[in-house]
Symmetry: C2
Subunit: 184 residues, 2 copies
Amino acid sequence: MSAGTTNFVRRVPAGEDRERLTCADCGFVAYENPKVVTGSVVAQDGKVLLCRRAIEPRRGFWTIPAGYMELGETVEEAARREAFEEACAEIAIEGVLAIYSIARIGQVQVLFRAHLATPGIAAGEESLEVRFFDWDEIPWDDLAFPSVHWVLRAWREAGAGPLGAPATNPPEDRRGVHAPGGAA
Amino acid sequence: MSAGTTNFVRRVPAGEDRERLTCADCGFVAYENPKVVTGSVVAQDGKVLLCRRAIEPRRGFWTIPAGYMELGETVEEAARREAFEEACAEIAIEGVLAIYSIARIGQVQVLFRAHLATPGIAAGEESLEVRFFDWDEIPWDDLAFPSVHWVLRAWREAGAGPLGAPATNPPEDRRGVHAPGGAA
């Protein structure tokens, strides 16, 4: 929220059951919904593409190409756009690798497995550098976000064959985990 | 957007590359992002739970229990909440059945397969009636939205065993379809 000089208050609008961020001056209700982050584990010859962030948060740390979906695009289009913006990579999406909920910060992450559709990568404006890493070279201590750890492990576990059910939040983040056969 | 008496204009904020809805009076930038709809195909003895909508849009038509995610919840929590609100159903989520992008209206739908965790359903405030339908009884001509058709077919195709890769937008809605092995 880039509220700046605005005068927002929390109020329950007529006909609703919970407080919404409302401008006390003009009455505008700013619905705050979770945002969709989408991105891809882009693999080539068993290596994965990582980007060193040129922007905050976590400037200087490594991540997969990913970012917020914009209106008017599909999740797949958004993932391809992010790969192009951050790594000048034209990717082909293979399928959904993981869906994570980061409830604390209002995010849903839809992460794909992909490969390069055309050769070549280069640092985009939001990246300091981009490169492919062998599994053993991945800079685990310098990854930008927990979900980058999660999805890289999910990619490794999925192997190179057909994708199965997408990964969900891992055991160390129990809240989002499914409980097959029983209520969570 | 329930703008009411506000004075919003489209402007490119400093440091951004596209127009954002901005209040000309107070400068508030209302970021418009896609919203996440989450819901479930809830099955029991091979039948699926449908709810006849008591609210617009599509009042009187049938849908699966589904709705917009709220801040502070995971997608799974949101799907369980919607099933409870619309059908007084306590559900257990089995896994992700489908992910659809409805770019035209800025929606991403994350839809689960589920079953009742405790017996019993009843119409919630947003439903006129709720019931389980055999496949051959489903009121196809009175379904509320195209994605209800899509996900019911995806459920049928998935069978009752372990879930595989989630369904994505079907051929009649080509734009969101993956193109494995090539750029879409």
